[in-house]
Symmetry: C2
């Protein structure tokens, strides 16, 4: 179907009329087109937040005057980053984003479906929900530290406030008296597809924010006069951080996407949180928005999408892709089915959700076994620990979870610690985790400096190579080498997940056996890195097998066969095995 965008010149006409509700509707129409074209995106909360975002950028923030590179500029970003299509539309209206980029939403080389700081006007990426206030208070603290002007305004969802990290950020911002931090809660009362009160009631949000030491205001988030009044109040509120609870309507601007109508038509489920509308729904929504816009701009001109950035966009590539072949099988649905099937044989099986029941296809379980469906709201830590408590009572909890990654190093002595800290601060490209032994070093080590991804020989040997790291395990490694009497070469290798392939290969080449000594479990660190580097060579990894024993360090090391004497025995055994083979 043919898609049409409202060009920037038309948005400038609305700006000249100083008509913020009109600008908001025009941005809604363009966000709708971008999402329809992308085939996915989040309209419901883009629309509920739109009036606040338009009001901020056209009335409140100094970015219009200073631009997005000035150190004293106001910083705005949304913690619920999935509402970014609305922000993109506003940035297009402001001339920050060209139309052809707006139309490359969720396309290769285009605009991400969630905010990315590589895009002009985007001040912060969004990760898990609940991180925005913490990031914002970090920015606000840094602005004060650096003597920079400008406020930080963070938009959050209401369901998002179920995340405990919000309250860590709220308490820290109050403790640090960050008066330059504002939070706007987009209080649209809906989560991904149900009422916040049905998922997990938030109670009295204003009372919670006040209890955490914030100045709190509230108003209709779609009434620009009220927004102007409340923002003036926040300006006057002094040194405490400020919060506005903006009462909004999810899907605002398109009647059938608005709560409560949308909920009743969806049979209790809100359909417009994520995903592009079908052609008919799109046509109805776009027509409704354009009709209201034309009441103010009768001669509104539209630009055909296909005419914009001709050639630069194109349809999604065909060929062998995950989209070109699709069946009606969903493994996620099978997951939900399996839980339903298991429910009868397992009366103690309970399902815990953190507001992903539809994505995880566990609504059928919820409907069939409401008493065994447990909603924690958007609070994964709490959900997992609560599941542990339920398991302690003999229940069978089923939950979901996530994970992450970075460069990990562990120094073996004081000098190396200094060097690695310097490297992390001065040279490292990304995040670095430095693992440190808290206790005293078992012995003073001479550790030659080495390049990134490389270590150094600290004990010469003839038959076998042992890579180790950290003051404790290096001591055990050296003790083993001393007991093995010149047969074991020990190398300090502090780069747990960053091995220089060439260096490791040359290092290992002369030796019949290669051993790695981990300072924890024998998986996921140096042993695996060395195996990747020596791809095709045998590598024996020593580490803590099973649960770590509780005892004195010496008792625990010996229990796991990781003390110098045990290591010497284990290595000697391997050498004898090779000799006899």
């Amino acid at each position: 179907m043919e898609l049409k965008l409202i060009p920037r010149e038309e948005l400038e006409r609305a700006r000249a009329l100083d008509d913020l509700p009109l600008l908001a509707d025009m941005c809604r129409a363009n966000a709708l087109v971008a999402v329809k074209r992308a085939g996915s995106g989040h309209l419901g909360s883009s629309f509920s937040a739109m009036d606040v975002v338009v009001h901020l950028f056209y009335r409140e923030l100094n970015t219009a005057a200073l631009g997005f590179d000035h150190p004293d500029r106001d910083v705005y970003f949304s913690s619920k980053g999935h509402d970014v299509p609305g922000l993109y539309a506003v940035l297009h209206a402001l001339g920050v984003l060209p139309p052809e980029q707006l139309l490359r939403l969720r396309r290769l080389g285009g605009l991400d479906g969630h905010p990315d700081v590589g895009v002009p006007g985007i001040e912060a990426n969004s990760g898990s929900l609940g991180m925005g206030i913490s990031k914002g208070r970090g920015i606000a603290w840094a602005k004060r530290f650096l003597g920079r002007g400008g406020r930080v305004v963070v938009m959050t969802g209401d369901g998002e406030l179920q995340e405990g990290q919000n309250f860590e950020g709220l308490q820290a911002a109050a403790a640090h008296s960050l008066g330059n931090l504002w939070v706007v809660v987009d209080r649209n009362e809906l989560q991904s597809d149900k009422l916040t009160d049905e998922i997990l009631p938030l109670g009295d949000i204003e009372a919670k924010l006040r209890a955490f030491g914030w100045h709190v205001a509230t108003c209709d988030g779609h009434d620009h006069d009220e927004l102007a009044r409340v923002f003036a109040e926040l300006h006057a509120a002094g040194d405490m951080p400020k919060a506005l609870v903006a009462r909004t309507v999810k899907g605002k601007g398109v009647s059938f996407m608005e709560h409560p109508q949308a909920l009743s038509e969806g049979g209790g489920t809100y359909r417009w949180h994520a995903g592009a509308p079908d052609d008919d729904s799109f046509a109805r929504a776009h027509a409704e928005l354009l009709a209201r816009i034309r009441e103010r701009l009768p001669d509104l001109r539209l630009a055909a999408v296909d005419a914009i950035g001709e050639g630069s966009i194109g349809e999604p590539e065909s060929g062998i892709t995950t989209r070109t072949r699709v069946t009606d099988e969903y493994v996620a649905a099978a997951y939900g089915d399996a839980l339903l099937e298991l429910a009868d044989d397992h009366p103690h099986l309970v399902v815990l959700d953190a507001d992903l029941a539809s994505d995880c296809r566990i609504r059928p379980f919820e409907l069939a076994h409401p008493e065994r469906f447990h909603e924690s709201g958007i609070a994964e830590q709490d959900m997992v620990s609560a599941a542990a408590g339920m398991a302690r009572q003999g229940l069978l909890p089923v939950v979901n979870s996530f994970a992450a990654n970075m460069t990990i190093v562990q120094p073996g002595n004081a000098d190396e610690t200094r060097a690695l800290v310097r490297w992390a601060v001065d040279d490292a490209a990304g995040n670095v985790a430095i693992r440190l032994a808290i206790g005293p070093s078992p012995r003073r080590l001479e550790l030659p400096e080495a390049a990134v991804g490389r270590g150094a020989v600290i004990h010469d040997g003839t038959d076998a190579l042992l890579l180790a790291y950290g003051p404790v395990m290096l001591h055990e490694a050296l003790t083993a080498a001393e007991l093995l009497d010149g047969r074991l070469q020990v190398v300090n290798m502090p780069w747990l997940n960053r091995a220089d392939v060439e260096w490791v290969s040359e290092l290992a080449e002369p030796f019949g056996d290669v051993f790695v000594l981990e300072d924890h479990a024998p998986v996921g660190a140096l042993g695996d890195s060395v195996r990747r580097a020596l791809d095709g060579r045998a590598v024996t990894v020593f580490g803590v097998e099973g649960w770590p024993a509780c005892g004195t360090p010496g008792e625990a090391l010996r229990f796991h066969g990781l003390d110098g004497a045990s290591l010497a025995d284990r290595i000697a055994l391997a050498l004898r095995a090779r000799a006899s083979s």
Copy 2:
């Protein structure tokens, strides 16, 4: 030095007198001995919580009547598990733990330094701070679900309330109307070594708890009459969860360990949070406790520790251990030094702490550069996100962090999803994470069932082996195999970090090349497992290198060379290379 324990019979005499303050002091004395003997342990908060713990077990909880195995028993545990020496002493007083076990604190086969459910009377392990309320509300919900009697009483620290997860648990417990859940806050006003108000002020704890929908009471946590009155009030409070903020003194019972005296003598630092006291301090503390105890039990009898469980205890083993060789070098201190050294060259370097400044040796930095030292309190998520915000303003944030592990599987079709969910529910020994594709499957696959750690051939081939998993990547793998015309054998292997070594070895034996196709980065999952299993053989792992591209799934797959056609090219290239070598 000679250590003496108060034997159980003497504690029974105090019980007969119904003298709770006396019982508390006697348990303090025994906890002190156990910690001194162990060489480490947490006395400060063991002592501040002791009166509440003694009052609960001797007056409130039904465990004295029902024992620790009855399903209707009251459940007590502490979220700040480091106060467990105090609980061990009480369990010894109750006859639940024999004296020889109390004396094996932190020893191999003895009592862990943090609670473990393998120990009689211990209801929950403690992990990171802030998890207790969530676990407790899980237990409370399960008790209600199972129709079981008994309350759940969770002890938390006050500094611990800086963790956001507490507020996730508080909000969920209120939403689920868990009237059978009690929380006691040990409000001793001190964190590991400084005042809570210096680390990060908690503000009005009672107001926060009330704002989260809890019934809140407060009293002197060392006054047993007040405790009796408040617990009676909680019993009458109905369906809402209940919290008692108990005003306590850290180190209570030993004058020089009590705040504020301890703080002033420590020059602003509290010395008695962790670690065993030196001989002199121990002697003074023990004498002070015994003097007060003898005021009530003049003929108190003590048992020499060495006479208890003769032979079963012994001194820590000597020989090659991390304790037998110790220098005065601390890499942690070098870390702090390095930060101090870097501070001058890097005016934008800031250090973020989550109440571990002493352990991490960054107090010197704090003292030298207070304006560049940022305290987040015990709130690691918030600290990390705040650091991200600071980095966005050009600062160089330095923080600390942690991680975890479990069995990970990813099914390739609906049947396998059902089978793996069943396995996770029916058979899995530990926690299981099931990764699921949310979208529709690219093709319907026939996946033969396979045992734990094993997969199955889904496409026969002659020259090379490719292991893959999940509906999306299996489709690309099969597409590659179809293009390679009988040369590539494809195996579905859903066990990402659990490979059956024997099976993988036999499977790979006939093939010259082994390839693994990951559904994410090429590290940390199936590729590494196969390398461990095929130790000594070359394995080529395909996965998402660098940051995942944003685009249609097809665009992204092709961008990363993971679509069927690209995979076929990459594999054909490798086969040609082998042929020509």
